[in-house]
Symmetry: C2
Subunit: 327 residues, 2 copies
Amino acid sequence: MIIAVDAAGGDHYPKNPVLGALAAIKEFERLTILLVGPKKLVQNELSKYSFDQDRIQVVDSPEIVEMTDSASAALKQKPNSSIAKGISMHKQGQCHGFVSAGNTGALLAASMFILGKLEGISRPTIATYYPSLEGFRLIIDAGANLEIKPDMALQFALMGQVYAKEIMGIEQPRVGLLNVGEEEGKGTELLKEIYGALKQIPSFIGNVEGRDILIPKADIFITDGYIGNVVLKLGESLPGILKTLVGQRLQQSKGTPEMMSFVQQILTESLAPFDYERVGGLPFLGVNGTSVVGHGGSSPTAIKNMIKVAMDCVEHSINDKIIASIN
Amino acid sequence: MIIAVDAAGGDHYPKNPVLGALAAIKEFERLTILLVGPKKLVQNELSKYSFDQDRIQVVDSPEIVEMTDSASAALKQKPNSSIAKGISMHKQGQCHGFVSAGNTGALLAASMFILGKLEGISRPTIATYYPSLEGFRLIIDAGANLEIKPDMALQFALMGQVYAKEIMGIEQPRVGLLNVGEEEGKGTELLKEIYGALKQIPSFIGNVEGRDILIPKADIFITDGYIGNVVLKLGESLPGILKTLVGQRLQQSKGTPEMMSFVQQILTESLAPFDYERVGGLPFLGVNGTSVVGHGGSSPTAIKNMIKVAMDCVEHSINDKIIASIN
C-alpha cells in the first residue's frame, strides 16, 4: 500500500506530516509513504530522524497552498502544489490515496476536477465525525454543499451508511434528518421533500433534533453543509471551553492540589470522545479515489490516523461499495 | 404591574406555573399575577399554599393546548385555551404581558394574530440565550423563521441589539453573521446578501463561525431558524451529556468518595453558564406586546425568571425602543 501525504499542508508542516508518516510506517506493515512538498524543506525535517529509508520517499512540489487561498485560485495559480501533485499522482495510479491537513476547499476542488466523481454520484460530500455517548457518529454534509436537495441527501445517506458499516463497524447505521421537530411534516418544504427521499432507506428513523446528536439517536445525521459546518466547529470548540470553565471554578475552589489534579484528570478522560485526533479525518465521499482531509491543526497522531483511514478505505473497497449501493 | 401566566402550559402544569407565580410575588414588589388555566385545576394547586390572595387571581380557560398540537389547529380549535385567553387579555390591556412554558408555535401564532406586529417589522423572531465564557449571548433566529432574508436579518439584529442593551446590559452589542468561514464573500449568495445588509450596523463584526459562539466573539449571532434551533437544542443537551460522561469516568476511577463528590460539585458549578433556568425565556421580538416563551420543562425558578423578563421588557419600554431603532 502506498499513501501520499501532504507535507506542505496544515498549520504545522512539514513537522507534523513528517512525524505522522514516521509513526505510520512504524505502526502499519506493508505501507510506503510519499511525502509531497518542497523537497529541501521536507528532507531537512526528515534528516532529524532515523527511519527505514525504503518506506518514505519525498516527492517535490515547490508551490504552497495557503489555508486562506480560495479553492479555485489555488488550483489554477499553483499547479505545482502538494495538493495538485499528490492528487495527480493518485489519479495516475502512483499511490492508493492522498492525505492532507491542508486547505479543505482546495483539496475538494482538486479531488473533484482531477479524480472526478464516482459513477452515479451527483455531488461528493464532506462528512464529519461527531462525538456522542457511544463514540463517534457521522454528520453529513459538513461544509461541501451549503444547500442540499432530496437526491443529494439520499446519496449522502447511502454513502454514509457504507462508510459507517465498513469503516466504523456499525452494522445497521440509522439515518436521521436533522430538523426543528420530530414529527413528519416539520420544517421547510425542502426538508419535507428530503424526508420523502430518505424514506427509501430501511433504517431511516425520521426527523431528529439538535438534542439527539450527542445521545446519539441516529448514526448518520443528514443536514446541509451550513448547519453541519456550524455544528462541527461548535463541537470542536467545546473541550477547550469546558476546560477553561472548570479551570476558573477550580481556582476559586478550596480543593487540595491532589483533588484539583484529580478533577482535571477526570475531565480530560471524560472529554476523550470529543478528541478528533483519534480519527484524524475522513475521505470525501463520492470522489473517484481516496482523498482524506483533516483539521488544519492536526497533530502527528491525527495525521497517522488519517493515513489509517485512507488504508482502511482502500482495503474495504469503499468506492466499489458506494457505487453498488447507489446504482 | 400585572403579568398573566399560562397555568396550563409546559410539562409540569399547574404545579410549576403556580410555584413560579408564588415565588415571583414574593420576590418582586408591586406585581400582580393572573394565573390562566382550567379554574378548578389551578385553584386546587393554589390551595396547597398560603399567599397574599390579592396578588394572585385565577382566570378560567377550560381548553388545553398540548405540546404536540399544531400552532394553527391550537388557535382555531381551542379558542378557550390559556394561550388564547392570556394573549387576548393582554391585547385588551388587562395585563402588561403574558408568560408561557407551553407550545411555542401556538404562542407565536396567537401573539402574531392577536397582538400583531410592531410598526415596520416584517417578521417577528424567536431569539435564544446561548451560554458562553462571558455569560449568555443571543442567537437569532432560533426557530420562528427557518428561512431568512436580508431585510429580516437586519431587523433581527437591530431588535437583538435593543434587547441586549436594555435587558442584558451589554453597552455596544456586537453582531456577527454565523457562516462557514470568516472572510467576507463566504457562504451562499443569500449569506452574502445578508452580510451586505448587516453592514449598515456600526457594531457588525462580519462573519463568525461555530467555534466563535462559546467564546463569545459576538454578542448577537444572526442565523436562520433551522440552524438556530439545532444549535439551541444541542446546547441544551450538553450539561446532561457531560454529567453522564464524567459520571462514567468516575465509576471507573479510584477516587475517594470525597474526591468524587468534589468533581461533581466543580462540574455542576462549571456548567452553571449553561443553565437556562437562570433566564427562563425570552419575549418574541417584533410582536406588539410582551409575550415571553420558555422551555416546556421549565422549573418554578425558570417561570419566576420569565416573569422577571416580562417585567423588565415592560419597564424598559423595549417595544418603543425597537420601533425607534427600526424606523
